[in-house]
């Protein structure tokens, strides 16, 4: 049953060294406060009114993965600012991209939905839901290098996604399939669309887990799953804003960022966490302000 504690292991946060935890939190902050700036800029009409897909609320997934897996090939979907930032994409180039500038990571061609970053082996997405999954499987088979295929709970239902997961299982492709399950296809809930789950019914015999987006829990499972690829991890998370755009339909089921900062206090890392947060906010605010000045 979907909940903020799904699969939670007591005291799991204590399993990780302080540096690892803070590194993970640094990435969460980078994603969250970057997206705050996007929202603010978009709402003020200071950037092109093309569709934008914000990762706010879902920060823990990419942050935990990037902290745990070293230099994988990355295949994301339309909502992938988080992947780009967590794995080390240049924030400045992402701002430029969102502003439609030729200095952007995709020179203005990608917008929000089709960003890419060769420096971190992040491939762009073409806009068709789930195509990144068979493409990731092909890439992994061709290179035999660790690859992450991100998908949403909706694209997981695409025929070619299921077909290629099955093929990866058959050929032992080194892919970690990550389902960022926010329970929504725009506004249609998962239970309306299907009676099955990825971890129980679409794992094709691969190792699979279904958990909430607690970052330490993700790191715990990914550390194990990465040793027995291919594997599936279905992570329940909450999209704070609309599918596309910056609107909000009330409070989300849970606020993982807040839960994470509370846990950091329990770990006696509150002061460091607060410093990271403020530093990130200052850095990103300054960066965005400079870019917006340039724009004028």
């Amino acid at each position: 049953m979907r909940s903020r504690d799904q699969g939670l292991i007591p005291n799991i946060s204590k399993e990780f060294p302080r540096e690892k935890t803070l590194d993970m939190f640094r990435r969460m902050c980078l994603i969250r406060y970057f997206e705050f700036n996007v929202k603010s800029t978009y709402d003020q009409g200071l950037m092109p009114k093309s569709p934008i897909y914000l990762s706010m609320g879902q920060e823990a997934i990419s942050a935990a993965l990037a902290t745990t897996i070293n230099k994988p090939a990355l295949f994301g979907q339309h909502r992938s600012h988080d992947i780009y930032l967590a794995f080390g994409g240049n924030p400045e180039k992402l701002i430029d991209e969102l502003l439609g500038w030729p200095t952007g990571c995709a020179e203005g061609m990608g917008g929000s939905a089709s960003i890419h970053c060769p420096e971190i082996k992040m491939f762009g997405h073409d806009g068709l839901m789930g195509t990144q999954v068979p493409i990731a499987v092909g890439y992994a088979l061709a290179t035999n290098k660790m690859t992450i295929a991100f998908m949403g709970d909706a694209s997981a239902e695409e025929g070619y996604v299921l077909g290629s997961i099955g093929y990866a299982a058959t050929k032992k492709a080194p892919v970690l399939f990550v389902v960022c399950d926010n329970n929504l296809s725009i506004l249609t809930k998962t239970s309306v669309r299907r009676s099955w789950t990825m971890a129980d019914h679409a794992n094709f015999g691969m190792p699979s887990v279904e958990i909430a987006d607690d970052p330490w829990l993700i790191m715990h499972h990914v550390n194990k799953l990465k040793l027995s690829l291919p594997a599936i991890i279905n992570i329940h998370t909450c999209r704070e804003l609309w599918h596309a755009g910056t609107g909000r339909d009330g409070d989300s089921e849970w606020n993982r960022f807040e839960l994470t900062t509370n846990e950091l206090v329990k770990l006696e890392l509150g002061t460091e966490a607060d410093r990271i947060m403020r530093h990130t906010i200052d850095y990103l605010d300054k960066l965005w302000n400079e870019k917006l000045k340039e724009q004028k």
Binding site: G124, L162, G163
Partner: protein
């Protein structure tokens, strides 16, 4: 003995796999299905049997292309391209424009000569010409195939190669037939329609109707070469693009391209605008030599 098209493809594939490339498709080991065009090699050597999920197979090929393996993606029925095409058209064809990341897939898409109902009969290359970024061609001879492969290797674009099973046994070349300085008409046939066009031109010559033939290998981008314009310009009744696909596809597009530069009319003749059935009388075959002859005579009579 000269090499056939099938042997040429097999040899190209063998060499490609030996140099680290990859080839993939469904039912590759089934005798006769891909016409003996695949070398007897293993998965370890780069020959990959895909699962029967058509929709993911093309995506897997795209992934191989992004990894630099220049995959040969074999579509055993060109009609299956209707479900295979999405990732080839929307990803492979766009990748270079969008991200400056080349995605060179060599798509071998095999057309049948009818007799297979509504799904897979004949060619379906027309729909593949709609997307910028994809090169589309229809080789019918060993040297043409080699030329297409060489061009693919020299470039970094995805190629859609509209093959026809009738070509597999061909072991000779088919040069343009520009026999007449002032012909009645010039035929511009595509794929297996080239065989019918040659027959038709011969039959018409016995009736005193003079046809030149300019074979069309490259369908997209289609370049209106001076030879094409000269041929159609010298023809009393212009030209006909003859296709193994439906007329509302690349044939009309090519006819239009030629007419934008020529003063003569260029007509099209392809599959009939209806779905093919399994019963022989319900099939929908590419224009036969007789049909081409009648079409030409009709043009001349109704001038």
């Amino acid at each position: 003995m000269a090499k056939t098209v099938a042997e040429t493809i097999k040899e190209i594939t063998r060499q490609h796999l030996k140099s680290g490339g990859a080839a993939m498709g469904q039912c590759l080991s089934a005798v006769g299905w891909v016409g003996g065009t695949v070398p007897d090699m293993t998965e370890k050597e780069g020959l990959l049997e895909l699962s029967m999920d058509d929709t993911s197979g093309s995506g897997i090929a795209v992934g191989y292309a992004l990894a630099g393996r220049r995959p040969i993606f074999i579509c055993r029925y060109q009609g299956f391209m209707h479900i295979d095409a999405s990732q080839l058209l929307n990803y492979a064809a766009k990748s270079k424009d969008l991200w400056k990341i080349p995605c060179p897939v060599f798509i071998r898409s095999i057309a049948m000569e009818g007799a297979i109902g509504p799904v897979a009969g004949s060619s379906h290359h027309g729909m593949m010409t709609r997307m910028p970024g994809l090169t589309v061609c229809a080789p019918m001879t060993p040297k043409e195939y080699e030329h297409v492969w060489k061009t693919f290797v020299e470039k970094d674009d995805p190629f859609y190669v509209s093959e026809h099973r009738r070509s597999f046994k061909i072991d000779y070349e088919m040069p343009d037939e520009l026999f007449y300085p002032e012909p009645d008409i010039t035929l511009f046939p595509i794929s297996a329609a080239r065989l019918s066009a040659i027959e038709a031109a011969d039959m018409l010559s016995h009736e005193g109707i003079l046809c030149n033939i300019v074979h069309l290998l490259w369908l997209k981008p289609f370049v209106v070469l001076p030879g094409i314009l000269n041929a159609v310009g010298a023809s009393k009744y212009g030209g006909i693009v003859i296709d193994t696909d439906f007329e509302n596809g690349v044939s009309k597009s090519i006819a239009c391209d030629i007419m934008q530069h020529a003063s003569r009319k260029v007509r099209v003749l392809g599959l009939e605008e209806r779905t093919a059935g399994f019963a022989p009388h319900l099939d929908n075959l590419p224009p036969s030599p007789e049909k081409i002859c009648n079409f030409v005579k009709n043009i001349i009579q109704n001038r």
